[in-house]
């Protein structure tokens, strides 16, 4: 059954293998010449490759090789990369968590700094923040809230588990640590650390 393929068959096989595009029989003929039974060769090849990792298929009169559908998963390898959330993203997430649902403008008012476009995207991509409708005020801004994944990632059973302001103060987390560096700023500073996010 696995006979040595003849040269015509090999030529068809090679031509299909290197082709940039699926080929019609007429296009194949330009390579493999007029001699030889092209239909038979294609049928033989399709049969030969049927159970393999690569199949020869015909779509709309054009032939091409493609990987077997059940192997798609191996052609795409996922790799986890642990990355640190930027400070801007971390702060935005914290504000959403403590004040949800909040609009972007509200986040900016609390942070005292503009929220760059990518920041919310990163948080949504991480699966921690979701759009939660619109605020019924002029402009109907989108409002954001945290997700269930947010709770599970941070080990919270509910948002009520978040430490309150008094807890934060007691833990010294309200002490102005970096103020000297940051500038006492309620002035709008467009942050630029979002690219890291």
């Amino acid at each position: 059954m696995n006979e040595e393929p003849d040269d015509f068959l090999r030529a068809v096989e090679a031509a299909l293998f290197v082709a940039e595009q699926p080929l019609t029989p007429a296009e194949l003929r330009l390579h493999v010449g007029e001699a030889g039974d092209l239909d038979a060769a294609l049928a033989t090849l399709a049969d030969h490759y049927a159970g393999r990792g690569v199949n020869l298929v015909e779509r709309g009169g054009r032939w091409h090789f493609q990987t077997a559908a059940d192997l798609a998963h191996i052609l795409r390898r996922e790799k986890d990369e642990t990355r640190k959330l930027s400070r801007a993203a971390m702060e935005t997430l914290a504000i959403i968590a403590y004040h949800e649902p909040v609009s972007r403008a509200e986040i900016e008012a609390i942070r005292g700094v503009q929220v760059a476009k990518g920041t919310l995207d990163v948080l949504m991509e991480a699966g921690w923040v979701r759009p939660a409708g619109r605020r019924e005020v002029p402009g109907r801004p989108l409002i954001y809230a945290t997700t269930v994944e947010f709770l599970s990632h941070f080990g919270l059973s509910s948002r009520r588990d978040l430490p309150g302001i008094d807890d934060l103060r007691a833990a010294g987390l309200l002490d102005p640590v970096d103020l000297a560096l940051e500038g006492l700023g309620a002035q709008s500073v467009v942050e630029n650390d979002d690219e890291e996010a």
Partner: protein, 260 residues
């Protein structure tokens, strides 16, 4: 690729119009000349080769061809080698011309070997010329999935920092040990009515105070006394400078007249 397999056409003895640009330096020319002698470079006659080269250079000179300096340097060196080789053995200089000739031969062999190897390499089945790979492979994709590293501590710390940064700052002034003027007026005013006779200022001070509080109470009570005197509610008496100060409530006018 054909030119790889055949060395550039070797010059025929009678044709000297070959452009020197076709040679890659004197060694290249020598190799081409050597290959007109024999296929096996190990058996070429160096003396004959030298003569071939010198004749070639001489012919080029007759045609007034511009010759690169390295061809002339090689010609001079070969002329020297030739004369040394022709000397009787015992008169030969060091290093021996035989050794120099051997060196030249070895170099020609090595260049020849590499030239042939290069040609054989080029003649192999080469990707894109003889064998082909897929034009547009789909590619194995590596999907990088970001896993964000953030702890609850990071979260609450970030929130703490925002709050610390954006809370309006309230200045709380610590309570200092003072008796205000208002307090003193209140106190002195009420106490002075209770005493009918002259009473020392110190008697109006709150008891059990010392230090800054006592001094503040004394100063405030004195100023209160002056204020009350100005209002006509008390009278002040002092015997002399730094003497004790006495207060008494000022009497209503009719009462004062009766007492006088």
């Amino acid at each position: 690729m054909d030119d790889l397999f055949i060395a550039p056409t070797p010059p025929r003895a009678d044709v000297l119009t070959v452009s020197f640009e076709s040679w890659e330096g004197p060694l290249d020319l020598l190799l081409a000349l050597a290959r007109t002698q024999k296929v096996d470079l190990r058996e070429i006659s160096i003396l004959a080769l030298v003569e071939q080269y010198l004749a070639y250079i001489e012919g080029a000179r007759k045609l007034k061809l511009e010759l690169a300096a390295d061809y002339l340097v090689m010609a001079a060196w070969l002329a020297y080698l030739k004369s040394a080789l022709l000397l009787p053995k015992e008169a030969q200089p060091e290093p021996s011309p035989e050794e120099l000739a051997l060196r030249l031969q070895l170099r020609l062999q090595r260049l020849h070997a590499m030239r042939e190897s290069g040609a054989r390499l080029m003649a192999r089945d080469r990707i894109g010329r003889d064998v082909f790979v897929r034009e547009k492979p789909e590619g194995l994709r590596l999907v990088r999935r970001a896993r964000w590293d953030a702890s609850l501590y990071d979260l609450i710390q970030a929130y703490g920092q925002i709050r610390a940064r954006t809370q309006p700052v309230v200045h709380m002034v610590a309570v200092r040990p003072v008796m205000t003027l208002d307090e003193a007026i209140q106190r002195v005013g009420s106490l002075v009515g209770a005493a009918l006779d002259w009473t020392a200022l110190e008697a109006f001070l709150p008891e059990g105070r010392d230090g800054p509080m006592a001094r503040s109470a004394l100063a405030s009570s004195f100023v209160a006394a002056l204020e009350l005197a100005k209002q006509g509610r008390v009278e002040i008496r002092q015997e002399g400078i730094f003497e004790p100060i006495f207060l008494r409530a000022s009497l209503p006018e009719e009462q004062a007249e009766r007492l006088l």
